[in-house]
Amino acid sequence: MSTWFKRIKQGIQTATHEKKEAPDGVWHKCPECRTTATVKELEQHLYVCHKCGYHNRINSKEYFNIIFDEGSETLLFENIRPVDKLGFEDVKPYSKRIIDAQKATGLGDAMTVAAGKIEGQDLVVACMNFNFIGGSMGSVVGEKISRGIDYAIEHKMPFMIISKSGGARMMESAFSLMQMAKTSAKLTRLDKARLPYISFMTDPTTGGVTASYAMLGDINIAEPKALIGFAGPRVIKETIKRDLPDGFQRSEFLLEHGFLDFIVERKDLKARLSTTINWFMKATA
């Protein structure tokens, strides 16, 4: 058993231990093939269906457990929190949405940043949390990416963003739109510093996230069968008034059309990342 796999197992055991109220016997039904597994089994398989390989959606905590060497990571910029600058109110005030999401997830916003080690190599990871208002991109997401880039430049570390988002956060209106400009502009500084940027797209990566940092990696990679696109499939269907082909806007479709460098299963993620980062960062004579 490789060290990273042990690490994942331990991470999962910790997670299970924390959820005292959830008994091992709770069942999870695969949304793809309807096969059932216990929650504990699912966690041991990195939330991937053991039958059909469906990658269930996970958040920053789980990705950090998979990627980082045990205990190596430090969370960064946790004090940056969302504010309802516009006083936006649809069927629910945005200020209430923020509080509800923070209570439900224990997170500050839809982005968590950490610096740590992957098989002994430095890495800064900014990971989106889909469970926080659909992983929507607002000012906090943009600012945390911006500071993550500054941190990577200052410490000469590679940078990675894990995208999982429905797109811009409408309740922040033009502020959310400008996060596309802000993050892309900051990525030019990382580029000039010749530090690698790996964009990892997971299900789903759509809208303004796709049209900014997600597509700007030195290396663009994705989990299998992730929905990745600019416009959502429903909008496209309504626009062109015909059915969309099978597999449209999925990772495999994007790879075929030339927009991904490779697709990686969750179980192989750490090893592939580590090899890739080594190629970028290895000192040569």
Binding site: N79, G142, I240
Partner: protein, 322 residues
């Protein structure tokens, strides 16, 4: 002439004006000059009243007025020696994105922008101003050409959004827009971006990274159209006016937030009422911006551009709480 619902008080006056001119045309011995003068005065007074307190939704309507001047109109009025250039050199020529080499007051520049159609046929040909990836790549090709020959870039933004189509996704709409955001940040020449109509989301931003970003007074710029916002957040199309208010998408709001640099005033009655006057105002703005930006060293200008966009956002930054 076409009138929006809130412009109805004007419609009757213009109708009377048409009748007077008809009478005069039939018999030029009838003196209508006094009557015309009086009508013109009351048109201006009524215009002032109608336009005094526009709601955000009314400004959205104005930005889409069927008679509003589009990109090619401004190019013809503001610039000389325009040589239109076509194509992205990869897939095709996108008719929703136009541009080329031109001169403004003797200064060689590259000017480009989205173009909407003016009748049923040209609206389709222009895809209602919704560019495909090849449109954004065509725009980038023009901008890189301008950079190579040290010519400033002027972009005119007017789009209901980037086109949400099947082929657009196949050819990487997201990648095309993202690439433009990145590359525009790095352009060594001055970049001036002006929202002349609709500034809808990533489709607008895709040619919108500039040293100066300005909005004409009666335009809107934000992440989503009020209609789509209503549909997603209220689950119906009825709340578009409310959505327009909540989104704070007007030029005044955007300037107040520091998300655009300037608001360019429109003539009374909007750009469509007096297009030539609008063109003159716009030309003065562009010349002023060029004068201000051109002397700045390229690296400094790029750094200022990055810093400007990096500051955009609103959040709390507390000392870590226990």
């Amino acid at each position: 002439m076409q009138f929006l619902d809130f412009e109805k008080p004007l419609e009757e006056l213009f109708h009377q004006m048409d009748k007077l001119k008809e009478v005069h045309a039939k018999n030029d011995k009838v003196d209508v000059s006094n009557a015309i003068k009086e009508l013109e005065d009351s048109i201006e007074i009524t215009r002032a009243k109608v336009y005094e307190h526009l709601t955000p939704w009314q400004r959205v309507q104005l930005s889409r007025h069927p008679e509003r001047p589009y990109t090619l109109f401004y190019i013809s009025r503001l610039f000389n020696n325009f040589v239109e250039i076509f194509g992205d050199r990869q897939v095709k020529d996108d008719k929703a994105m136009v541009g080329g080499m031109a001169e403004i007051d003797g200064i060689p520049v590259m000017v480009l922008g989205q173009q909407k159609g003016t009748n049923t046929k040209s609206r389709q040909m222009r895809n209602f101003g919704m560019a495909n990836p090849e449109g954004y790549r065509k725009a980038l090709r023009m901008m890189k050409l301008a950079e190579k020959f040290n010519r400033p870039i002027i972009t005119l933004i007017d789009t209901p959004g980037a086109y949400p189509g099947l082929e657009a996704e196949e050819r990487g709409q997201g990648e095309a827009i993202a690439r433009n955001l990145f590359e525009m940040t790095n352009l060594k020449v001055p970049v001036i971006c002006i929202i002349i109509g609709e500034g809808a989301s990533g489709g607008a931003l895709g040619i919108g990274i500039g040293d100066k970003v300005a909005m004409l007074e009666n335009t809107w710029y934000t992440v989503i159209s009020p209609e789509s916002c209503s549909s997603i957040l209220w689950h119906n199309w009825e709340n578009k006016e409310k959505a327009a208010e909540q989104l704070k998408l007007t030029s005044t709001d955007m300037k107040g937030f520091g998300l655009v640099d300037d608001v360019i005033p429109e003539p009374l009655g909007g750009a469509h009422a007096k297009p030539d006057e609008m063109a003159t105002i716009l030309k003065q703005y562009i010349l002023g911006a060029l004068k201000e930006l051109t002397p700045i060293n390229a690296d400094k200008r790029i750094n200022q551009r990055i810093d400007k966009f990096s500051k955009m956002g609103f959040y709390e930054d507390q000392v870590a709480h226990s």
